[in-house]
Structure formats: structure tokens, C-alpha cells
């Protein structure tokens, strides 16, 4: 237990500024990690498709892959791959999932990488 300290307005402002810097730094790290994951996943899938000699398609391509189950609720689990998957999951849930096939949930995560010229759908609902 630490004794209560009263901060002056200047000290409080500086503490807030430092907290904000840390918060933005964390955001940057999280976003960058997610982007790297997506690029790596996309590259891997593109290579697989190439090897498999699948015909290349034009326009929008939605690629889905199942990964091991991830928990987005436990913030103590700071594993970059989990964060990357979680970012995609969350983005899909808010920006919309272009996959009309609503299969049963097998406990894994659906990763969606949207490429091409069409932007991902977005959803408006009551706030």
C-alpha cells in the first residue's frame, strides 16, 4: 500500500500526457502487429493458391481460413498472433462479414482478408 500523494495540476497534466503517449504507443504496436499478421497470412494463402494452380480471380476476393481457437477476453494473454487474429475478428464483426455462408461455429476463428478494389462492408446499428 502506497501513501496517497496529491499531484499538482502541472504534475497531473504531465502524468496524463505520459499515459496518453503510452496508450498511443500501445495502439500503434497493436495495429502494426495485426497488419503484419494479415500480410503474412495473405502471402501464405496466395502462395498456396499459386501452388494449387487455382485460377486467379479478379475483383473482390474474400479468403477465409480457420485457426486455432483464440480468446479475446483475456487481455493478459499478450501473444501477437492472438492479437492479430482478434483484430481481424473484431474488424469483421463491425465492418461486416462478406461471407453469406453461415456455417456452424466450430470453435475456431474466421479470418477474413479483403483484397481488390471493393472496400469491406460496414454496419450501422442503434448506439
Amino acid at each position: 500500500m502506497y501513501p496517497m500523494m496529491e499531484l499538482s495540476k502541472k504534475e497531473l497534466a504531465e502524468a496524463k500526457k505520459q499515459a496518453r503517449r503510452l496508450r498511443i504507443s500501445n495502439i500503434r504496436r497493436r495495429v502494426a502487429t495485426g497488419a503484419v499478421m494479415l500480410v503474412a497470412l495473405f502471402s501464405g494463402l496466395a502462395l498456396f493458391r499459386s501452388i494449387d494452380q487455382q485460377a486467379a480471380s479478379t475483383g473482390t476476393t474474400t479468403i477465409a481460413a480457420t485457426t486455432a481457437p483464440v480468446s479475446t477476453g483475456d487481455e493478459e494473454t499478450d501473444v501477437s498472433s492472438v492479437i492479430g487474429a482478434a483484430i481481424v475478428d473484431q474488424a469483421v464483426s463491425v465492418f461486416g462479414d462478406d461471407d453469406d455462408d453461415e456455417d456452424e461455429d466450430d470453435g475456431g476463428s474466421i479470418l477474413n482478408v479483403v483484397t481488390g478494389s471493393d472496400p469491406a462492408p460496414m454496419t450501422s446499428s442503434q448506439s
Binding site: 495495429v31 472496400p119 450501422s124 448506439s127
Partner: protein
């Protein structure tokens, strides 16, 4: 081949925020955009007595030196009232609190059964205080009679989406969702599909449209609701009665050039009722009546997914 989707989601402004941008430098831009939303929340929340909004609302002076963000928000409060003849009135904080909305509500929690926060007071109609809110840009001050309190509510979310949009403008494609209010665009000019969900909270998509840019806001009475002494209550106050609105509409979605404008139109349409709602939807939208009838306007079309 264009770049992959880069996005982030987080909770702020009492709901879920999602930001996406596509192009070089999007990671940095998204990080900065998230900071913009957090800063706006910190300044405009009415649930933190240290926020700039609470400080302004408690300030005994009629002219209060304010940040550029607060100046912009206060100007929007006046604009919303003027544009809608007082239907969209962001000075109804007393009435909102009288209705029982005195603590932050997680919209994901759905209907709140207990009425621990309800206050047994008589609701009062609006006095049109929005018309006495103005800004002095030379002295960077918000002007309003002492005692007139501003509520950031939906206008704050619309403003947040517009601020992020200004930051992301220039990317090939970008989009931001601020707790239901969204804005999207991009230099690519590619159309983006926008889904509108049902008021029942199931996430079922009931209408959609596509456009290369624009803004959408959805207002309704089925979320952020709670049990009061007189029955079910919600956060959307009718300025004519000072009580939670009952207009025959459950939900309105409005399309507009900006998110703040979409927010104003959606609220004005909802408060106008089923027969007059379309007057507020010149760029399109959708309404759901209390009998669950869906009507769509302009580019918005009915769907069921």
C-alpha cells in the same frame, strides 16, 4: 493488387468503435485516429466530472474559454437545433437525467430491468435553450446562460466520426464506425456496401445500400433503455414533452454527407413520426415502425440476412 485491410476496434463513447484504412501509412493514421476518438471521449463525456463538458456545464460564467473541440461541438449544438426547429436539442440534460439516464449504459447490456437511477421528478418540455448556445471564435469561448447544460449524446459520436474522416481523407479506402454512426470514403472511388441492422438487437441485416462515400447514422428507442416507475424508458427525449419519445417509430437510419448531419437527420426523423420521417431523409434512409414495418427511401433497399 491493393493492400490488405488494416483496422482496429475498441470501446469508447459508450459503444464500439472501428476504424479502417487502406494504403501506405495507414497503421500510423489509424493509431492517431484512435487517439482522436479517445481524446474526444475524455473531453465530451458527461460521466466524468473532470471532463471539459462537465466543467463547462458547471461553470458559472456565461462565456467560457474552451478548446477548439468544444467550440466545434457547441457550434454543432446550435446548428442542430436551428436546422430542425428545435427537434434535435442537445440541451436536454435535465430531462435525460429525470428520465433516469444518469449513469453510463453499456448498449450491449440491452434492456436494464432495475431503476436504481430514476429520479421522481416532473419532466419539463424544452425551453429552446439550444438557441442561446453560441461560440465566439475570436476569444475561443462557448457562450450560453449559466445553467444551460450540454449533452454530447449522439452529436458527439457523429462529430467523432467526422473528425476521424478528416484525418483519414486521402487513403484509397477508409471507414469509421463510432457506436453506430459511420462515415466512409476513399480516393479509389470504389463503392462500399452499408448494412443496417434490425432494432431487435439480433444483428440481423434488414436493409442495405452501396456508395463510394458518405455517412450513415441510426437512432432508435430499443437500446439504452431501462425500467422506470411508469414503464419502459429510453434515452431519446422528445423536446416537446421533455419525456422519452413515443412517436410510433422504433428506429430510423439516415444517409447524409457527414456523420453529424446523418445523426441530426436520424433523430429529427424519429421524433417526427412515421408519416413525416421521410422529410428528413433527402439522401435516403430506413425507418422501422412500432409494428415492425420497414420502409426504405432513396438508395437504401430492403434485405434479410
Amino acid at each position: 493488387m491493393s493492400a490488405v485491410l488494416t483496422s482496429t476496434t475498441f470501446k469508447s463513447l459508450g459503444g464500439r468503435i472501428a476504424i479502417q484504412a487502406d494504403g501506405e501509412g495507414s497503421e500510423e493514421a489509424i493509431a492517431a485516429a484512435e487517439a482522436i476518438v479517445h481524446d474526444l471521449h475524455d473531453s465530451l463525456t458527461r460521466f466524468d466530472p473532470d471532463s471539459e463538458l462537465c466543467q463547462l456545464n458547471a461553470d458559472p460564467r456565461d462565456a467560457v474559454p474552451s478548446s477548439p473541440l468544444m467550440i466545434r461541438f457547441a457550434a454543432l449544438v446550435h446548428e442542430a437545433g436551428e436546422q430542425t426547429g428545435g427537434l434535435v436539442d442537445a440541451t436536454l440534460l435535465d430531462q435525460i437525467e429525470t428520465a433516469g439516464y444518469v449513469d453510463s449504459i453499456d448498449p450491449d447490456a440491452g434492456f436494464i430491468p432495475a431503476s436504481a437511477t430514476a429520479r421522481p421528478q416532473q419532466a419539463r418540455p424544452s425551453t429552446g435553450a439550444w438557441s442561446r448556445v453560441s461560440v465566439d471564435r475570436e476569444t475561443s469561448s462557448v457562450l450560453r446562460p449559466c445553467g444551460v447544460r450540454l449533452d454530447s449524446g449522439g452529436l458527439g459520436k457523429g462529430l467523432a466520426a467526422d473528425l476521424v474522416a478528416e484525418h483519414l481523407n486521402g487513403f484509397a479506402s477508409w471507414g469509421v464506425v463510432c457506436a453506430g454512426d459511420l462515415r466512409f470514403g476513399g480516393t479509389s472511388g470504389a463503392p462500399r456496401r452499408i448494412d443496417i441492422t434490425s432494432p431487435d438487437g439480433t444483428g440481423r441485416v434488414i436493409a442495405e445500400f452501396a456508395a463510394p462515400s458518405g455517412a450513415v447514422a441510426t437512432s432508435g428507442v430499443t437500446r439504452r433503455s431501462w425500467q422506470s416507475d411508469t414503464g419502459r424508458s429510453h434515452h431519446l427525449i422528445d423536446p416537446r414533452t421533455g419525456e422519452p419519445a413515443e412517436t410510433g417509430l422504433l428506429q430510423v437510419t439516415a444517409v447524409a454527407p457527414t456523420a453529424a448531419e446523418a445523426e441530426i437527420r436520424a433523430k429529427a426523423a424519429l421524433l417526427s413520426g412515421p408519416e413525416m420521417a421521410s422529410e428528413w431523409l433527402p439522401d435516403g434512409g430506413a425507418i422501422v415502425t412500432e409494428t415492425n414495418e420497414l420502409r426504405t427511401f432513396g438508395p437504401v433497399k430492403e434485405t434479410n440476412r
